[in-house]
């Protein structure tokens, strides 16, 4: 790890100002950033901790929308979202281990956009809105590929708004070592149609499986997916599984998610 300064502002405005400094970077729960500092893969000169900013923490449930502050930990989401959006709480409670869940934040996860992370699938399948200090970004416009998002430099995820679906489920098939998603599929059914988002699989990061969405929108049952498959081209191939295996898993897990949601 290289040396760095650390600032702990208590408001978004102060954090934005601090992030204006040269080579400054936001620090959420540090569950991704600190290991990469340790491995000297990143060397910011200033870390701006978001931990003490109360205005970006917490869960509020309002009619058909669950709003989660960008600095809210996975543990809080797991504990507080269950009544309104059980599939989302279920996703959160299966991220990492208690230490990771008590530090890691939804804002950090979405800003990082790891191709194997869980929250990107939830946000995309829910058609969530990512709220920042400057604007609101629709999930469909937010994820731009592995580790890339629409966020500008210094932009802070202050909240995520999830429309509550009629039915939903997330099925994660764990990579045996990291327990991130080798493949994860989030299915969410809304009045105007079904959305299916896939994480862990594509070289372009999280994506929507549109064929499955249209099949499920007319018949929300696992049998609607019979015969649907994806090609292994463009899928991640690594020591834990080939692209073809991941493509196969997507079809299997999507059916399981539909069964779990129905």
């Amino acid at each position: 790890m290289y040396s760095f300064e650390i600032e702990s502002p208590t408001s978004v405005a102060d954090a934005v100002a601090a992030l204006g400094k040269e080579e400054a970077q936001a620090l959420g729960g540090g569950q991704t950033l600190i290991p990469s500092l340790k491995a000297r893969l990143a060397a910011p000169s200033v870390l701006v901790s978001l931990k003490n900013i109360d205005e970006i923490k917490g869960v509020s449930i309002n009619g058909d929308t669950v709003t989660i502050g960008g600095g809210t930990t996975h543990a809080t989401v797991a504990a507080e979202v269950g009544s309104a959006y059980p599939a989302l709480a279920d996703l959160a409670v299966n991220i990492g281990d208690p230490a990771v869940r008590n530090r890691g934040t939804i804002g950090g996860s979405l800003a990082n956009n790891d191709p194997s992370a869980c929250y990107p699938a939830a946000a995309l399948a829910s058609g969530a809105t990512i709220v920042t200090n400057t604007r609101e970004i629709a999930a469909d416009d937010y994820f731009e590929g592995m580790f890339t998002t629409a966020l500008e430099e210094g932009e802070i995820v202050t909240a995520v708004k999830f429309p509550v679906p009629e039915a939903a489920a997330y099925i994660k098939f764990e990579q045996p070592a990291s327990r991130f998603a080798l493949v994860g599929v989030f299915v969410a059914k809304y009045a105007d149609g079904v959305r299916v988002a896939v994480t862990g699989a594509s070289e372009d990061g999280v994506f929507r499986w549109s064929e499955a969405e249209s099949a499920l929108s007319s018949n929300f049952g696992a049998d609607a997916l019979d015969g649907l498959s994806l090609s292994g081209d463009g899928m991640i191939s690594d020591l834990h599984g080939s692209g073809d295996y991941r493509a196969h898993l997507i079809a299997v897990l999507t059916k399981r998610a539909v069964k779990a949601a129905a």
């Binding site: 045996p176 070592a177 990291s178 020591l239 834990h240 080939s242 299997v252």
Partner: protein
């Protein structure tokens, strides 16, 4: 081994130093790094002398204090080093009986040692362990013409043969044919380790070995790319077995056929779990595939990852 001058697996050594108070330090050549020598070794000496285990201290790992030994490997610590400790303790008993015979004015051939008391056979004349050890170091009433003061003995034990534990392992697992994921439901391990000194430690050794073997069978792997770069370089990619990957084990040691050639009748137990479990797991995977109709699969490389199982099912 032959070139090192050994018959089988090399010797080991132990020094038993009895202090004036009757407490004992045993300096052993085998190192303990979690196997519990500090617990099992005193049990052996305590039982031979009929004194409390808490009076016995095991010293290991410091080459400035211990006799030259060969160390811990190949499930040998109790069978080889423990046997050296038995031999040294036998020498202690022989000498202590001579001292006791002197104190009791009887022939040492008539002295019996039981429950920490030296008794003249067939009489109620006796002297306690601690009185004999004190006499050894404060020898004002002592056969100084016949034996030296002090009570400390060393033995080197060179085993005539290896020990041959045997066992039978059974693994029951479920295989998800859609994903290739294997889940172990039950695992039974029955071993004949000969005489068992400490059943809890032996069970622990087997449990650890099973976890290691299951890890090897299903999870652990060092993977390099074509340029020689290690890909499984952190626990994000190197899959260690965790509690949820292993079942509650059923272990059994009720069949105990003593080893015929060491004084304790013990056999090695440290490696059994890790040796028996990988073939049991992999054979169970093959059996599951066969009963699921995938009869063309007769071999699958470890670790049996979900991806490998799925690929084997594709033919």
């Amino acid at each position: 081994m032959g070139q090192l001058g050994a018959r089988a697996g090399l010797y080991d050594a132990a020094t038993v130093r009895v202090n004036a108070t009757g407490s004992i330090s045993v300096m052993v050549g085998a190192h303990s790094h979690g196997q519990g020598h500090e617990t099992a070794f005193p049990q052996v000496v305590a039982e031979m002398l009929g004194i409390d285990e808490s009076m016995i201290d095991i010293v290991h790992g410091d080459t400035s204090k211990i006799p030259f030994g060969m160390g811990t490997y190949g499930s040998r610590s109790l069978a080889v080093c423990g046997s050296a400790m038995v031999r040294a303790t036998e020498k202690i008993i022989n000498k202590a009986k001579k001292i006791a015979g002197h104190l009791l004015e009887a022939s040492d051939a008539d002295i019996e040692l039981k429950d920490g008391q030296f008794t003249v056979a067939g009489t109620d004349k006796s002297v306690a362990w601690g009185d004999v050890t004190l006499a050894a170091y404060v020898p004002h009433n002592y056969p100084l013409e016949d034996i030296e003061p002090g009570l400390e003995e060393t033995a080197f034990y060179d085993p005539a043969n290896f020990t041959y534990p045997s066992g039978a392992y059974a693994c029951e697992l479920e295989l998800d044919p859609e994903t290739g994921r294997v889940t172990i439901e039950r695992f039974a391990a029955a071993d004949d380790f000969g005489n068992v000194v400490n059943p809890m430690i032996v069970e622990g050794q087997v449990h650890g070995g099973l976890a290691q073997g299951i890890g090897q069978a299903l999870l652990e792997s060092c993977v390099y790319d074509e340029n020689g770069q290690l890909l499984s370089a952190s626990y994000m990619d190197y899959a260690m077995p965790r509690a949820e990957d292993v079942p509650f084990y059923q272990v059994d040691h009720s069949c105990a056929t003593p080893c015929t050639h060491n004084p304790l009748g013990v056999k090695g137990c440290g490696e059994a779990g890790a040796i028996g479990s990988p073939p049991a797991v992999v054979n169970a995977v093959i059996d599951a595939l066969h009963s699921g109709g995938y009869t063309q699969v007769d071999h699958i490389d470890m670790p049996v990852s979900p991806h490998r199982v799925w690929k084997a099912m594709q033919g």
